[in-house]
Amino acid sequence: MTKIKTALLAATAVMAAAPAMAEWAPNRPVEFVVASGAGGGSDNFARTIQSALTRNDIVDAPMVVLNKGGGSGAEAFLYARQNAGDPNKLIFATNNVYLLPYVAKLAYTTEDLQPVAALALDEFLVWVKADSPYETITDLIDAAKEAPGTIVFGGSQSKDTDETLVALIEQTTGADFRYVPFNGGGEVGVQLAGGHIAANVNNPNENVGQWQAGAVRPLCVFAPQRMAESEPISGEMGWHDIPTCSEAGLDIESYQMPRTVWLPKDTDPEVVAYYQDAMTKVAETPEWQDYLTKTSQTGAVLVGDELADFIQKNEDSTVKVFQAEGWTAAE
């Protein structure tokens, strides 16, 4: 009798445990490896997700953030390579994961990482100083055509998203700018407000403070549609009032930077599924919505095939720019 009872109990226990076993969950602290220094864009991204996951009890395991921003983020991706198969490490990055290997000789390839999700798209805008003579993007481009190589575009880092976009503008229009790399978007914003450079291609939240103060103004945004409605930022103008670049006569349909989450390669499919699910839930939390509004990013939850497609397209189009500029690292 007792034997049967124990057996029964054991059986129920196994049955109860069965669904839990199929679904993997982290049983130790999860490392959030951030491909930027503390305070950088990817850092804010990771820390927002960390707080959204904790506050809404989506992931029970504790989470710790590690900044590995060296070499434009390469440090974080090399770390992922060294930890192949580790299900407790998530890597937070942009499109630098798959673009960096093209421009620099590095000891990792994109295949060393497994994409989990993209959660947001950061927009790029062309900004000029408030009292600059250029009223529209075509003014700026025409001026650059008239006096090639004299109009200074500032951007953050070298051969990174900003310089790529400037190169793309040059390749599309035939204009010729002079590009000066600085350390980060904030610094480029101030250089523009101080009049040391003529234009920059900052993300919205890198320049919004100077725009509010009326020191700089946007010319156009590189997105297929205008940005979301918002309160007026500067004078009457809000984000939605900025024309898209193709509307304004610059034939670049879209140029956006995804905020992405990755795992090291060779983890079980359940692990990927678990984090995909967690990230999809994050996108619905108020913390996340708040983050999108405050940083003026566009929400876009991409997982699975959709994500793979996006990466493929983004990679192909950017590499074309790299090749035209001769940036691809010689193998």
Binding site: A38, G71, V180, G186, H196, T293, K294
Partner: protein
């Protein structure tokens, strides 16, 4: 007197029981973080950011900035007691602080450091209060050539004079410059001097080098001379604290000068670390009589500490008003600001007066709290020296290595600490000065970047460094600081020689 009314309003915001509690808590946590080398203010502050989501922005920034002040205070403690800078900006404090502690006057050294730090911080906050609008407009005038000029000025002020052999100074300086170039270059995007080692991709961390050079290097010297710390016999007496405070007014000239240097470097992009070096260098040049610097001169503690803290507080201004962080910690706080939905920029002062002036008012209060808390701990820290070396020595070794590891969670850095420990030991024994190496590591790459950016702007013409009044005057001052001391020395030597001949 609009700013004054706003400040009073700020005090109303800042002084609530809840905020006072946050300040005390922040300063205490900062002290812990500051005392441990490697685990610096930027780490500490970024770890607190998730906690601040539950607070309103004003309380959050008060917590974070209090932690920053605490870390700045704590950083000097280990500099003085063990020659291990807890924070990068307290490296210059080791030059005279540690020798003074070794003479058995650790209480005096600590008190001098904390008091001048407090004075420096208050000077900085007063400047912020009075000049908020003007200073941020001034900072806007800084483009790449001006940046270069400021870095060059800091170099010139420090290197201009030194007692070590010129060839050895040059070795130390160039080694530092080379170490700073390792890793990815911002301007060209090239990976330099890594010799195929992935671990070097992110560069050689300044903190790791400093922990090795100063911490482990000093331990090796201590071991060589016998297994104990000198200065053990120091009496620990609260009366010493007060005696030292009474002594402070004597250094008024150094204090004012260093405060001004700190303000200048805080508002321009120099930052606190460069400010402390520059201030130390100028204090050394300005002193005419007395025992040489590096042997425990009180001015050698007052100068870097005052400048460090006034720069640290002034650095909040460009961060709030322009969104340019001039220190690593400010960069992290700015990240926090954005998460809380505040946009740093000129409008922040107009749109969020509660936040800005609450923060500024809290800086007065929390620095005061910081000085009191830290003075209260002086006897406790000084007592650390009484622990036998065979116990505290290995503990310091562990703390150094763990500290270096936490900088970027890289086990490769452990070997670097060991290597630079040996370098530090050898260099000190053979009279190679360490300071130029450290300064070169702090400023080298930044200066190179600014130089390169200027060259792109000017199409490779050096005229850009003399293209407007601002940059020209900084360059002229820098060149004068570089050349004048040597010529003065030479001419006075010549004059002295004449009567003999």
């Amino acid at each position: 007197m609009g700013n004054f009314d706003l400040l009073m309003h700020g005090f109303g915001v800042a002084i609530t029981p809840m905020h006072l509690l946050l300040m005390v808590g922040g300063v205490l946590m900062g002290l812990v973080v500051g005392v441990l080398p490697g685990l610096g203010a930027p780490n500490g502050v970024s770890l607190l950011i998730p906690l601040t989501f539950a607070l309103d922005p004003t309380s959050a920034i008060i917590l974070l900035s209090s932690m920053y002040w605490g870390a700045l205070f704590g950083g000097s403690t280990t500099s003085i007691l063990f020659n291990i800078p807890g924070e990068p900006s307290s490296v210059a404090t080791t030059f005279d602080g540690y020798p003074m502690a070794r003479k058995g006057e650790s209480t005096r050294a600590l008190t001098l450091a904390f008091m001048s730090a407090g004075v420096g911080a208050l000077t900085g906050v007063i400047v912020i209060t009075l000049l908020a609008g003007w200073a941020s407009n001034f900072a806007l005038k800084f483009g790449a050539p001006e940046y270069f000029a400021v870095y060059f000025l800091a170099f010139a002020a420090f290197i201009g004079m030194g007692s070590a052999s010129p060839a050895k100074t040059l070795v130390s300086l160039t080694t530092g410059l080379l170490l700073a170039t390792v890793g990815m270059d911002t301007v060209t995007g090239e990976i330099r001097l890594t010799f195929g080692l992935d671990q070097l991709l992110s560069g050689i961390s300044f903190l790791v080098v400093v922990i090795g050079l100063f911490g482990i290097g000093e331990l090796l010297s201590t071991v060589q001379e016998g297994l104990r710390f000198r200065g053990v016999s120091s009496r620990i007496d609260l009366r010493d604290v007060f005696k030292t405070i009474a002594e402070l007014p004597r250094y008024w000239a150094t204090t004012i000068r260093s405060g001004l240097i700190g303000i200048w470097m805080g508002i321009t992009p120099g930052g606190p670390t460069a400010a402390s070096f520059m201030s130390y260098g100028i204090a050394r040049q300005a002193s005419r009589k007395g025992e040489p610097f590096g042997t425990g001169r009180p001015e050698g503690i007052v100068a870097p500490e005052t400048a460090d803290h006034s720069a640290g507080s002034c650095a909040m201004l460009p961060m709030l008003a322009l969104g340019v962080p001039s220190s690593a910690t400010a960069a992290v706080m700015m990240g926090g600001l954005m998460i809380w939905g505040l946009t740093p920029g000129p409008m922040l002062f107009a749109t969020k007066p509660d936040f800005v002036w609450g923060l500024i008012a809290s800086m007065y209060v929390s620095n005061l709290i910081g000085v009191i808390l830290v003075l209260a701990t002086v006897p406790m820290f000084a007592a650390l020296l009484r622990i036998p070396f065979s116990i505290i020595g290995p503990m310091i070794v562990v703390i150094c290595f763990v500290g270096a590891y936490t900088v970027s969670n890289s086990s490769f850095d452990l070997w670097l600490v060991l290597l630079f420990g040996l370098v530090g030991y050898l260099f000190t024994k053979l009279d190679y000065p360490l300071a130029p190496l450290v300064l070169a590591m702090v400023l080298g790459h930044k200066a190179e970047n600014a130089f390169h950016q200027s060259m792109i702007l000017s199409n490779g013409s050096l005229d850009i460094f003399f293209s407007n009044t601002l940059v020209t005057s900084i360059m002229v001052i820098a060149l004068a600081l570089l050349v004048l001391p040597k010529t003065l020395q030479l001419s006075s030597r010549l004059r002295r020689r004449q009567p003999v001949e």
